[in-house]
Symmetry: C2
Subunit: 185 residues, 2 copies
């Protein structure tokens, strides 16, 4: 069978990463998430912290003819994702994998979302409170993801046309989402 | 058990109506679609043809203090949908039922979509060719639905936040979509 890749895009706090991990576990295939950052670190020499903080900052302005650090990280990210997809079936969380693998792999593209209230509840439970108000944390992160996706793919993040399946994890529950994805795979 | 309503919004040609009917059949509950138009016809005195053609034309301009025919049909539509949801569990296709029943019934809100190519293929197969090119038929109908939804609900048609579940029927197949919805119900 051709390698089959499940890509999971998700709103911050929707439990998308957890769903990805559980799906992979059930299917007995790897789930890539932080591993991609490690790989970019290895290839580029940037630290993981730098990549985590900077990779998703889109750089609209750059010196003529020069590649920004972000663009450089993006090219390594593409290679890494293509390599992983070639290696075998897997789950990839985030990183515009749906776009990178378009027409390159047999993908099931999933988007996970949830209401603002449920996500706020979840991030406080998972990551604790911070000095930044929860609402601002959610909005900032979503905005960053949306603009990153838009910048590199020229498509709208969360647009239903980009996904085979979009699930409200807050209403349906994490377990049910996992079940649907596993079943579809 | 509380009445549970499945609302299905769909892109033209995605097979959403067929999915609704099959889901209802499997669950042994009614599926409302044209029935709502009949009801509006009965209540308003407008003919079914008029309603089908005119109800979704949003009327942005109207004489001060007057209700347009469209707004009048909309109010009957709201009453009809609320009545149907009160009567028992059911599937409702289209008609902004997800919005009308928000906080009024226990709903599973579903959005069905499919690629342009697959929808084009489907409408020619289902409805035959017409003088209007297929592409224009699809675009016109989608545009009409989107602006109708936006006008009366103040929300964006197809926005993932409005649905618990969005499915690409072209990729997943009609049968699989039916199965997922029946299972979630």
């Amino acid at each position: 069978m051709k390698n089959r890749v499940i890509t999971i895009s998700r709103e911050f706090g929707s439990g998308g990463r957890t769903i990805g991990k559980l799906v992979a576990q059930k299917l007995g295939i790897p789930c890539y998430d932080y591993e991609i950052i490690s790989k970019i670190a290895e290839e580029s020499g940037f630290s993981k912290e730098y990549i985590e903080n900077e990779a998703e900052k889109t750089s609209y302005f750059r010196p003529y003819g020069m590649m920004s650090n972000q663009d450089y990280m993006w090219t390594i990210q593409i290679e890494t994702i293509l390599d992983l997809a070639k290696k075998g079936s897997c789950v990839i969380v985030g990183r515009c994998a749906d776009y990178v693998l378009k027409d390159r792999a047999d993908c099931l593209n999933v988007f996970i979302h949830s209401s603002f209230e449920k996500r706020a509840e979840r991030i406080v439970k998972e990551y604790g409170e911070t000095e930044v108000p929860t609402e601002k944390r959610l909005k900032d992160k979503d905005k960053k993801r949306a603009s990153y996706y838009q910048y590199y793919t020229d498509k709208k993040w969360g647009d239903y046309r980009n996904y085979h399946l979009a699930l409200d994890s807050g209403e349906l529950g994490i377990e049910k989402c996992v079940e649907i994805i596993v079943d579809l795979y």
